[in-house]
């Protein structure tokens, strides 16, 4: 029972991290109609900068601040240099240019920090365990991830539904030309949204640092999962991204933990040992295929945001 609760919590924690990635992606797509494969690179930049600053100064919060500002700067730079000319272009052109960016960033990271993976430890003030439910201790760091993720989700919701900036973002998503005609600087708005997405990706990267390895190319696999999330949730919908991220996280974690023992009941230990892991890693893609088969537009087809 303790094990089961732990696995579900792991799933929620992973899902919350995916949400941070997916929220940026879906926002950028919903508003600017841009597919950004380099979103994973921003995640990687965040993780690297945080790991480097953290090990140099010993302060996790300083590393976090540095990572966020670095990612925002990089994000704004690539938005101005590369993406501004791509908004009007075909999706294919965007996919290719951002693929070029991935190659570039992966290699730059290798030049700056070498090709061996960096190690990032859990910050001291979050190293213990907390008892969420009586009798079930859970690592404090993961609890913090869940808390931060949920807080960010709430903040994003308030920002988009309640503030003036959020109103402009929604207006930009539904009719950009009209918004421009009303005297709003749409270019600046785009840069702002892009910077926000970059910060979210970097935050996910920083939080992932102590859990996964910090290495070149670490953004790619997360990027694919974030795509799965926004396809399931409905592209452009933040609410959809939130629901789908938690769904994917929990399905993935519980699948990896329980599919093998579950299969053992039916097909014997050795066969289960063979198929269990393979099937577990396919599970979320099967989930995606099933959702798309029923609802090709995802769970929450966006109307605005």
């Amino acid at each position: 029972m303790i094990y089961a609760v732990e696995q579900v919590l792991n799933g929620v924690q992973f899902g919350v991290m995916l949400f941070l990635m997916a929220a940026g992606l879906t926002l950028i797509f919903g508003i600017m109609n841009l597919i950004n494969l380099a979103h994973g690179s921003l995640y990687m930049v965040g993780a690297y900068v945080a790991a480097a600053i953290f090990s140099a100064t010993g302060s996790f919060l300083l590393g976090l601040a540095a990572a966020l500002s670095a990612a925002v700067l990089v994000g704004i730079a690539i938005e101005i240099i590369v993406f501004r000319t791509l908004y009007e272009r075909d999706h294919l052109d965007q996919v290719l240019a951002t693929f070029g960016l991935i190659l570039f960033f992966n290699e730059m990271v290798r030049i700056l920090w070498g090709s061996t993976a960096l190690y990032m430890s859990v910050p001291g003030f979050l190293s213990g365990r907390v008892e969420l439910l009586p009798g079930i201790p859970y690592p404090a760091y993961r609890v913090a991830i869940i808390a931060v993720g949920l807080a960010i989700a709430l903040l994003l919701y308030l920002l988009i539904a309640r503030t003036r900036i959020g109103m402009l973002i929604r207006a930009g998503a539904s009719n950009r030309v009209m918004l421009g005609a009303l005297g709003i600087n749409v270019r600046l708005l785009y840069t702002l949204v892009f910077a926000m997405g970059s910060a979210l990706a970097a935050l996910a990267g920083v939080m992932a640092g102590p859990i996964f390895t910090v290495e070149s190319g670490m953004g790619e696999s997360v990027l694919i999962l974030a795509f799965v999330v926004i396809v399931i949730g409905g592209i452009g919908s933040i609410r959809g991204a939130f629901v789908a991220a938690l769904l994917v996280g929990v399905v993935d974690a519980t699948g990896r933990a329980f599919l093998r023992p579950f299969l053992t009941i039916f097909m014997g230990g050795s066969a289960a040992a063979k198929f269990g892991p393979a099937l577990a890693s396919m599970l979320i893609y099967i989930l995606m295929a099933a959702v798309l088969f029923v609802r090709p537009q995802g769970l929450f087809p966006p109307r605005g945001l």
Partner: protein
């Protein structure tokens, strides 16, 4: 028979001389490089068939379970299609890693080259080279016939306006699925050749960045022209080979080059070097 057509024929014919020149110049390395180029050219041509003519951006191309994947992914369109093929490509990658019997993520060593009897011994680089060359010519010819056929016209119609094609009464889903499966099969042949070339298969050739590379070749060469991808594959692999000898960090140079090509050229190398395309065939 325009000048462009003649130039392409000359370029393709020149490929036949590569092994001979390489032997004379005592640089057998180039036979290998050009054999690689042709293997990837075949994959790129097959991708171009659905991408340049059918308008379907497929990232799962290196992973070829085309029928089932196509069936699910083609229910969606546009951006969804891009992301889904990406995801399915990754799924096949994970399955390949998971299956330990076929080597898991260590890959699978192949003891020897495919054997088609004494007449066709792929062990010898030169024989392999001409085998790949022949296949490439065959697929270019077939591709040309397909593009000009009713089926090819339909695909191009779907690309420019699918709704209109549906209104005209064509079952576009079936046509798209057929094109998807066909392209997948040809790419599978390229995959088999690749395995023969390196004698080693690992799931890394199915990683989505590999599909991305093939797509790069297509765009670099020029979309919607059958020989474009061949130029693209040549340019990409030669660039890779030259840059990787200059610096260990060649990807840091290649990335920006690709971005520049996307930003400043809409037609790729084919559009730069060939004459403007007229619709006379």
């Amino acid at each position: 028979m325009s000048g462009r057509y003649v130039a392409i024929c000359v370029a393709l014919a020149a490929l036949a001389l590569v092994p001979a020149v390489a032997t004379v110049a005592d640089a057998p390395f180039y036979t290998g490089l050009f054999a690689r180029i042709m293997v990837f050219a075949i994959a790129a041509v097959s991708l171009d068939l659905i991408l340049g003519y059918g308008g379907l951006v497929s990232f799962g191309h290196a992973a070829l379970a085309a029928l089932v994947i196509g069936f699910v992914s083609l229910r969606t369109s546009g951006v969804y299609f891009i992301m889904i093929t990406l995801a399915f490509g990754q799924m096949v990658y994970f399955v390949a890693i998971g299956l330990n019997e076929y080597g898991g993520d260590d890959g699978l060593n192949i003891a020897r080259h495919s054997d088609f009897g004494a007449a066709l011994n792929l062990d010898r680089p030169v024989v392999f080279y001409y085998f790949a060359y022949g296949l490439l010519l065959l697929f270019l010819f077939l591709g040309n016939r397909i593009v000009q056929s009713r089926f090819g016209m339909l695909l191009q119609g779907v690309k420019s306006n699918e709704r209109r094609m549906i209104a005209l009464g064509f079952p576009t889903f079936r046509y798209k699925l057929t094109a998807f499966v066909m392209a997948g099969a040809v790419c599978g042949i390229a995959g088999a050749l690749f395995a023969n070339l390196t004698l080693f298969v690992s799931p890394s050739i199915m990683h989505w960045t590999r599909s991305g590379e093939i797509m790069m070749m297509v765009i670099l060469g020029g979309l919607g022209s059958l020989v474009g991808p061949v130029f693209g594959a040549a340019a990409y692999l030669i660039l890779e080979s030259v840059l990787s000898r200059l610096t260990e960090h060649w990807q840091a140079v290649l990335g920006p080059i690709l971005i520049l090509v996307v930003l400043f050229s809409k037609t790729g190398l084919y559009g730069i070097f060939a004459l403007p395309r007229r619709r006379s065939g």
